[in-house]
Amino acid sequence: MCWGHHSLKGLVISKVAFQGPKDTAPKLILDAINTVQMNVPYDNGAIEYDDVLQYGFGGNYLKGLDVSECPDGELRNATVNWETSTSVYREEVRPALCIREDDTGTAYRSQYRSNSQILAKQGTDLIVSATAAIGNYEYEMRYSFHDDGQIDANLGATGEAIPFGEGYQNGWPVGTGEADFLMNHYHSAVWRVDFGLDGQAQMKAEQWDTAPTGQRGSQSAIYNTTKTDLPTEKALNLSNRRWFRVLAPASLNADNHPRSYEFVYGKNDPYSSYPHLKYELAFSQYRACEQFPMRNMTAVAGCGDKTTLDYLDGENLTNPVAWVNVGFHHVPRDEDQSPMPIHWQGFSLYPRDWHSNNSQAPAVRSAWNGRNMPAAPTPTPSATATATATATATATATATATATATSTATATPTTMATPTTTPGATATPTATTTPPPAPATRTSAAAETGEATATLQVGPTAARKATASVALKLANGKASVTVLTGGKAAAGKVALKVNGKTVKTLTLKQGKATAALPKLRAGAYKVTASYLGSTTTWAASTKAKTLKVK
């Protein structure tokens, strides 16, 4: 995956490839994905913004982020340059991109009888996001890449809403009584999605519909599903039980099914007053100059000032660009006052037949395919989970890193094991977790080893860091600090703070450091120890301990 920024489009994600846990190499999914419109007309018809086309999500509107906005993540810099009113060149390096990994909850769970096994896994996703602040609105461009290949594209809007509505016909009262209204308005977000499935030159698009036949079977109504090929450029609408996909006919999975990605929409209220925004989806054949769904911002002859609908001129669809339109009509609430809570709109792309079965399946299930369901070897209580945990960590030479996420069922500090990645080879997690003390209650074998793994291909340094546990003891005028990461001694430095001020910085030796406390006047003091982190472990602090000096 590559990221960049464009003066109008803001965050541009390109060359998105996915490598499942058992894949030997990543496969390309998208050539590019980025926002291309954020149209905001107000319901009284008196004002309309287009924050991408009139202002732009990039350039100087692309904001630097504070570390607090990227918890447990990494900030990446963007170089932004502009020209002042006095013709002076300005260049600024800003931490514009946040990359982080998040838990997504249950990936799957299946319980079966022999040995009371639970096959369960917690999922993770890699989130990349950037923020553009334009006027009162601030937009978060956010893309999530799940461990199973799912991709989410979302735009969040926050900032400020200004009261100027007139009544319930176009607003909602937010001040005392019914004097000040916030005006209702639309947010139409459009993404341009340039497909490159498995690097194939020939792709196809399909629409699938399921409808009741009107007949009944022995137990329920009979539904039939039909396919409609989309051989040429077309604008499309959603309907109940309708979905769309882009497939690569020549890229077959192990079951000989063509690999594809499916569009998954949530709630969507298309804006009916712009022709091109009436459609939730349009497919056009790739043209380099067709970059925006309206006012197409180019001087290329015959291509500028066009809309999506102008691009749909009957060309065969072999290299599809999808224009995904998600409309949100915002009827503000009292709660939408300063700073307005973020509201989201977006869509997902699901892999469909990218793999021949569940790419995340544990070893005992990874061979199950159709009716071919080999019996599991009789597991020893600990063997099953170990196989599950270690089978999935892989890394390749193409600037990928493998992140291993750990979930435990106990209250002890969670350990994120960072595996060593060997270019082009299978990597084995080296920082193995020391199993936490077995809880009193019955747990599955998986919980006892404390590991479930997820593999994500991300930038070279995006491997997940471990979390440290820091302990502080105060006795006899001395402070003793112990820092463990994954149950092992951590290396690095510790800051000893009294009432928030660092009084000493200590270097850990075998995970421990001891120092005499400074002489203090009589009174009560709050003492904390802060581990400053390392390349493999996050910074962490103890809670404040109270020190009473007589």
């Binding site: 007309p41 009139q54 170089t79 002042t84 009113s85 006095t86 006027g135 007053s273 380099a288 006012r295």
Partner: protein
């Protein structure tokens, strides 16, 4: 809220509602459409187009200095390292591309301050062919002499420049244009509404753009827009304005060409908020307005809102 078209606009403004004015940046036509409209979000917090981004030079003082073909301090030598096709552009690459683009553009053209040359707008990584990716930069400028967008694609390896021009495509304005339009607006009778709103909100008189936090966008009319119909053929700026502490103010549109200033600059447009259209429409006396609107209708242009 009461309809301000009945003459209670002042009351309406004093409630800190939002009013939009568009200042057209017309080159050849004197009109400069100003559109007064209510609503919407307001201004750019610390954005580039914000007056606060460069506090060291007051806006009016900055505009007194003519623009130079290339900004002071920008590297224009060929960079030692040229990035891979999809890498973000470095400052050296941007500067080198702008230098080549300027040479290729030659003389001629007019900037927003009336000086000769092209008005610089933005640079971006050029769209690259997936099969044969190239490291190229798109340099966008505007020519006020001909009212054209000038897009130059500069190949960083070969130094070749491909220049294209088009009318009717309006990219977001540069800071110089936004500042020019704001100064023009405050000097124009149309700016009174903003001044009134500022005074009512803060208790202080608005005398300088430096008191405001504003962002300017490119405004383009469509077939059904009332007021500012020339915006699109000409360059117009649509403001989002707020006080420095983030309180929303009215929003306005303007055009920063000197010719426009001589002719009185900004005029109210008719598209206004809950009422202003009726009130302001009599001020719209543009001789060419109907003819232009008819002409535009014949040309298939951007998607027209079906019902607004």
């Amino acid at each position: 809220m009461k309809d301000p078209s009945d003459g209670r606009a002042a009351a309406w403004l004093s409630r800190r509602s939002v009013l939009a004015v568009m200042v057209g940046l017309a080159a050849t036509v004197g009109l400069v459409a100003a559109l007064l409209a209510t609503g919407g979000a307001v201004s750019g917090q610390s954005g580039p187009a914000s007056a606060q981004a460069e506090p060291e030079v007051p806006v009016e003082e900055a505009l007194a200095k003519p623009q130079t073909p290339l900004p002071e301090g920008m590297p224009t030598e060929k960079p030692k390292a040229i990035g891979k096709p999809l890498d973000p552009l470095s400052g050296e690459e941007v500067g080198y591309a702008r230098g080549l683009a300027l040479t290729a553009a030659g003389t001629g053209g007019e900037r927003v301050d009336g000086s000769a040359g092209l008005q610089y707008l933005s640079t971006d990584l050029a769209e690259s062919d997936a099969e044969a990716p190239k490291r190229a930069v798109t340099v966008n400028s505007y020519d006020y002499a001909t009212d054209e967008l000038v897009t130059q694609v500069v190949d960083l390896q070969s130094g070749a420049v491909d220049t294209k021009r088009a009318k009717g495509v309006q990219l977001p304005p540069s800071k110089r244009e936004v500042d020019t339009a704001m100064v023009r607006l405050l000097a124009d009778p149309e700016g009174q509404a903003l001044k009134d709103d500022y005074k009512a909100t803060t208790g202080v008189a608005l005398t300088s753009p430096d008191q405001l936090d504003y962002a300017g966008g490119a405004w383009v009319a469509d077939e059904k827009s009332e007021g500012g119909e020339q915006c699109g053929e000409h360059r117009c700026v649509f403001f989002q304005i707020r006080t420095e502490d983030g309180r929303g103010l009215i929003m306005l549109v303007g055009v920063p060409h000197p010719a426009a200033a001589k002719r009185g600059g900004i005029r109210p447009g008719g598209r206004g908020g809950p009422g202003p259209p009726r009130r302001w429409r009599p001020a719209l006396r543009w001789p060419e307005r109907r003819a232009r609107a008819r002409r535009r209708r014949r040309r298939p242009r951007r998607s027209a809102p079906a019902s607004r």
